[in-house]
Structures are given as structure tokens and as C-alpha cells.
């Protein structure tokens, strides 16, 4: 039984069957990659995990509990954090503030009317946020406006924000899309470190095969809204159906 169990999930947008009968099981403390051509339904599937979309049918269980029908903040508080395909950060806030907000969410829960104490008196939050910034190698940028960061740094920040919550399941949607090679390699190193150092399960959507094969322990190939195969990286590399449907286009 995996930490994330997806059974018979279907989702239709008007006339388009975006997901047709998806089954997926993600083992705890592993890295599971979901690959597939553009429009295969990968982001849609992730949206069903975090409460952005509700599938037409099927079930999504996290740690034995259904996430369907729960609001995004509830699902996050259950232990699922998501990094989006285009970075979702607080552009008007400083990098440090960006990092403190998830720390508050972790400590105080979904709502806490704390209008009395000063932020500067929240020593534990500040310490924690600084620690994550250090892990992300971003301490020297702590005063910057997040919107002024480079694309790679925005992504790092968003990953850091998710990690600061110490989620049990981290969802990454194309974390290296649009990154330069060097940035991509940095991100791979970062994710490897996270995988090795923490008790965390990672589900990653990725186009870049180099990233996928450096990180993943299992790979699911999604095509036209349905899983084509699920296997280890070695077997996926040689799989004829995969080569035909997907790898043939990009390798």
C-alpha cells in the first residue's frame, strides 16, 4: 500500500477526456516520476491531488484518507506540498517573508489571528526560515523582492517554501522547465539531497529525461490521459511502447 493511492480517476473537460482511468501507487519515501507528452494530463492529475480539481470519478487516498472534496489548505495541512509548473511565490514580499509564511502555516495551522505580536519577535519562525534559506543557498538574497529573483531562484524558493513545511509528499510539476543546464543540474543536486536526507516522498512530473533518470526510482508513463506503463528507469528506457509513444520524440 503506497502513501498515495490513485484508483480509476477520470476527468473530462467538455469534450476532452483529460484523464481516463488512471491508477497509480506511490511508495512511501521513494521518488516517483510521471512522464508523458504535452497534454497527456500530468498537471491535471496533480491538480486532482491538491484539491484544485475534483475528478469525475475514482478515488485519491493519501495515507489512507481521501483527499477528494477537501479544500487546498486542508490537503496541504495533511502533508502534501506542491511546486507549480510556473512558480507560485509571493512576488511582492521579500524572500525571507516568503519563507516565513509556510513556517507559520506549519506552526499555527490554517488560521490564527495573531495581530498582536510583532513578526520580529517570532524567533523560532525566523530561525527556521533562515535555516531553509541556508539549505537553499539563498541567504544572501533574503532581503530581495521575490519578484526580482531569476527564474531558477524563484523555483528554488518555491521548493524551499514547500520543504520548510516538512511535507510527507512533495509534488513537483516540471521543476526544471525553462531552466539553463547549470540551473537544472543544481536542481537535480538539490532534489537528490532532499531525497537522501529527509523522510519524504516525491512525485515529480518532468520533461527532461536526464532529470528523470537521475532521480526516479519508479516511472509512470502517461499518454492521452491513461498510464501506459509503470516500471523502473532501466526497464522504461528499453520499453518499446514507451519509445514509440514518447521517448522517440525527445531522445
Amino acid at each position: 500500500m503506497g502513501i498515495l493511492e490513485v484508483k480509476n480517476v477520470r476527468k473530462r473537460f467538455g469534450g476532452l477526456q483529460a484523464l481516463s482511468n488512471v491508477n497509480l501507487s506511490v511508495t512511501e519515501n521513494s521518488v516517483h516520476a510521471i512522464i508523458g507528452p504535452n497534454g497527456a494530463g500530468k498537471s491535471t492529475l496533480l491538480n486532482c491531488f491538491v484539491g484544485k480539481l475534483i475528478p469525475d470519478s475514482g478515488s485519491v487516498m493519501f495515507d489512507g484518507q481521501s483527499v477528494l472534496g477537501r479544500a487546498p489548505h486542508e490537503i496541504n495541512q495533511m502533508g502534501i506540498s506542491r511546486v507549480f509548473q510556473t512558480p507560485e511565490i509571493f512576488g511582492d514580499l521579500s524572500v525571507m517573508e516568503n519563507m516565513m509564511i509556510p513556517c507559520f502555516a506549519k506552526r499555527d495551522g490554517a488560521f490564527e489571528f495573531n495581530a498582536v505580536s510583532a513578526i520580529s519577535s517570532q524567533k523560532d519562525i525566523i530561525e527556521q526560515a533562515e535555516q531553509v534559506l541556508e539549505d537553499m543557498n539563498m541567504v544572501n538574497k533574503r532581503h530581495m523582492h521575490a519578484s526580482a529573483l531569476s527564474r531558477g531562484d524563484k523555483r528554488r524558493l518555491e521548493i524551499g517554501m514547500c520543504l520548510s513545511q516538512e511535507p510527507r509528499l512533495l509534488l513537483l510539476d516540471e521543476p526544471t522547465a525553462g531552466m539553463a543546464r547549470a540551473d537544472t543540474n543544481n536542481t537535480i543536486d538539490l532534489l537528490k539531497e532532499i531525497r537522501d536526507k529527509r523522510n519524504i516522498t516525491i512525485a515529480i512530473i518532468e520533461h527532461d529525461m536526464h532529470v528523470v533518470f537521475s532521480l526516479a526510482e519508479r516511472i509512470t508513463v502517461l499518454a492521452q490521459g491513461a498510464p501506459l506503463v509503470e516500471d523502473t528507469p532501466e526497464n522504461i528506457k528499453g520499453h518499446p511502447k514507451v519509445r514509440e509513444a514518447y521517448l522517440g520524440e525527445t531522445v
Partner: protein
């Protein structure tokens, strides 16, 4: 000091001094001089500066921090006024219970209106708040006449019960609002040479309440709650996916800012014990939006500056007429004098709205941060001149909204 960092403490201290000295500062021209009409230091106007300042400070907690634009905040102002007048009718002329009830009742109204309006965001939220305010306005005029006094407004009468206070004064008049015997309308005139300064009880009571309100607003801005509100403004989606439930945060901000509006409305009634439905009209809601944007939405002091500027123009610029203009430019040759007066005339007197409109457009286009940004740019210009050798500034992380 009082849980504030040094910069905020200094800001509050400076404002306290300015507000305390306002009767001097706003009356800089001798009574007999031609410029005396620019004097704004009379009690009625000074009270309005302060009361609308409070209104705008509260509005800014919602609009400045979260970016949600309420177009119906005047409803809470009106509710506050009605509540206060009812307290004067039923309980006593002491302003403390009146102001407390005004804050509580407007808080309850804000809770209900906010709960419904916050189901939508953006323009739909604005329209919902506008609809609620206009509805309150219409109801106050018609169905609710027994509570609101309808078209005549809610006024005090000799036969009001005032169970805890004096029903009628010894002279047979309706008593006036007071704070433990200190009457709001009491003033002391001080004549120094050709100058006249008026120190009014009501003004100082309002001023003290404003300083407390401002202090609370600063604390909210610097608190984790304030940071969450700024996060919602910046990216509400990220807030939700970070495990934070944005709706109660928004509702709390809405209620707090509604209570500020109710406080302002209550103080209006405390200065002049009557309340009318026009206080809830949509133009009154629009006015506080203008004040906040003009001064600088999301800044601490901006809304107060904006409120002061608009009230000054409304009361001072609007009073200048053609005769006064001719007097000013008498020293010019006749033809040119007439030309100058003709050119300026549309912008003064009843034309003050035109001037305000132009200033507003200029500010929005060139100074998106409002008057505060204007001030900051001027300060920076001076600083660059005074110390060309730059020292790295060690700015605090949490002062992005100064």
C-alpha cells in the same frame, strides 16, 4: 517601545506631536490677513481631518494590505453614527458607551456583509459591497425610518429617556455630548498678537482616539496577521496551497476595517449628535477609496495624509470665490488680471472637484505609491545630495510596508 521598532516608534511620535500642535500649525495666518481663509485650524474641520483619518486608516487595513477594494465602507460609517446617536438617546450623553456601541454594531454588520461579499473576489467583491451599502442607504431612508429617522435623520429630542444621564439641562435644552462632564463643543481661544488659535475638547478627544487607532494599525501591519494579508494580496493561490485558509483572514481584515469605519461614524455623532442616511451613500464610500489611494494605499501614514488633503480642499479651496481671486491679483494690469482670474476660476470654488480630479490622476499615473511615495522620492533626493558616499543600508526585512 510598546512593541514597535525604532522607525515606527519615531513615526508615531512625530504624528502625535503634529496632531497635538495642529491648532497652531493649521492656523499659520493672522486673522486679519488676506491668507486667513487658508487657515484650517477651526474645530469643525480639524475634527473632520481626524475622523476621516481614522476611517481611511481602517479602510487601508483591508484595501492596502489585502488588495480587496470595498466600495461600501460608508455603510459602516453610517451604522456607527446611528448606533452612537441611539446611545445618546437611550443611555446618556457620555461618548464612551456611544463610541463602543458604534464599533461593536458596525463590527457585526461587517461580519455579515463580509461573510457574503468575500465569497467573490475582484470586481465582484467590490460590486457586492457596493450593493450592500446602497441597500443599507435605501433601507435607512424608507423601511427603517423608525430606527434611522428616515429623511430628516436621527436626532436627539427633549423626551429621549437617557436613563443613566441627564434628560434635559437646567436651561431646558437637550444636553450635549461629553466625556465625564467635559463637553465636546467646548473650546478655548488663545490670542497671540494678530493670531488666533482655538483649542477644542472634541478635537483632542478625537486626536487621542486616532493615535490609539493608528498605533493598533501599525501593530497589525507588523504582525504575522498583517503579513498573511499581504501574502493574500500578492498570491492568494499560493496562500491556499501553503495550508492557510485565506477566507477567515480576509473576513478578519474586513471586520477590523469595518470597526474602524464604525468608530469614525461614532465619533462624527459624538461631535455633532445627529445621523443621516446620506452618510452611507456610495459617494461617501468612494471618498475613502480616493483618500487611501491619494495618500498611498498600503502605507501607514498615507491614508491619513489623503484624508487631510481631500478634506482641506473640500472645505478651504471650495470657499475661494471670484471676488477673492480679483483681490489677490489686483496688483496686475487690468486685462491680465481678468485673464488670470478667468483661467484659475474653474479650478477653485465649486470647481475644487476638478482640481482634486487632476491631482488624483497625476498621483495615480506618476506616483502609484501616492503622496507617501512623493515624499519618499524627495527624501531620497536630499539624502543622495547630503551623503554622496554611500553606506550600505541595513534595511529591516519586515518594513516593506513603511
Amino acid at each position: 517601545m510598546f512593541g514597535l521598532n525604532q522607525k515606527d516608534g519615531q513615526l508615531i511620535l512625530i504624528i502625535a506631536i503634529l496632531v497635538f500642535l495642529a491648532p497652531f500649525l493649521l492656523n499659520p495666518f493672522p486673522v486679519e490677513s488676506e491668507l486667513a481663509q487658508f487657515n484650517a485650524g477651526y474645530p469643525d474641520l480639524m475634527q473632520r481631518f481626524i475622523i476621516f483619518g481614522i476611517f481611511a486608516i481602517g479602510f487601508n487595513i483591508l484595501f492596502g494590505l489585502t488588495g480587496y477594494l470595498s466600495f461600501g465602507h460608508a455603510a459602516f460609517l453610517g451604522v456607527g453614527s446611528y448606533s452612537a446617536v441611539w446611545m445618546f438617546k437611550l443611555l446618556s450623553m457620555n461618548i464612551i458607551p456611544a463610541v463602543i456601541l458604534a464599533v461593536l454594531v458596525s463590527g457585526v454588520f461587517a461580519l455579515v456583509i463580509g461573510y457574503i461579499s468575500l465569497r467573490r473576489s475582484g470586481i465582484y467583491f467590490s460590486i457586492l459591497t457596493l450593493a450592500f451599502a446602497q441597500m443599507s442607504f435605501a433601507l435607512a431612508y424608507s423601511v427603517l425610518t423608525p430606527i434611522t429617522g428616515g429623511e430628516t435623520g436621527l436626532q436627539l429630542a427633549l423626551d429621549d429617556p437617557r436613563i443613566l444621564g441627564q434628560q434635559i439641562t437646567e436651561q431646558g435644552n437637550i444636553p450635549v455630548p461629553s466625556l465625564f462632564g467635559l463637553e465636546m463643543r467646548d473650546s478655548m481661544d488663545v490670542v497671540i498678537g494678530p493670531w488666533l488659535f482655538t483649542f477644542n475638547v472634541g478635537y483632542y478627544v478625537c486626536a487621542i482616539i486616532m493615535m490609539i487607532s493608528f498605533y493598533i494599525a501599525v501593530r497589525i501591519f507588523r504582525s504575522p496577521f498583517g503579513m498573511m494579508l499581504r501574502a493574500i494580496k500578492s498570491n492568494q493561490q499560493r496562500v491556499n496551497y501553503t495550508g492557510l485558509y485565506s477566507r477567515p483572514y480576509m473576513l478578519a481584515a474586513f471586520v477590523v476595517s469595518g470597526m474602524y469605519a464604525g468608530l469614525a461614524g461614532g465619533l462624527m455623532a459624538a461631535m455633532d449628535p445627529l445621523a443621516g442616511a446620506e452618510r452611507m451613500f456610495w459617494t461617501a464610500s468612494g471618498e475613502v477609496v480616493l483618500m487611501t489611494i491619494l495618500g498611498g494605499a498600503g502605507t501607514l501614514i498615507g491614508p491619513v495624509l489623503g484624508a487631510g488633503m481631500i478634506k482641506y480642499m473640500e472645505n478651504i479651496i471650495s470657499k475661494i470665490n471670484e471676488t477673492i481671486l480679483h483681490e489677490w491679483f489686483r496688483w496686475m494690469p487690468d486685462g491680465i488680471e481678468d485673464l488670470v482670474v478667468t483661467l484659475i476660476y474653474p479650478f477653485i470654488g465649486k470647481g475644487w472637484h476638478l482640481t482634486l480630479g487632476i491631482i488624483f490622476m497625476v498621483v495615480v499615473i506618476f506616483l502609484p505609491g501616492g503622496l507617501v511615495e512623493g515624499g519618499q522620492r524627495i527624501m531620497r533626493l536630499f539624502r543622495r545630495r547630503s551623503k554622496s558616499r554611500n553606506t550600505t543600508n541595513s534595511s529591516d526585512t519586515f518594513d516593506s510596508a513603511s
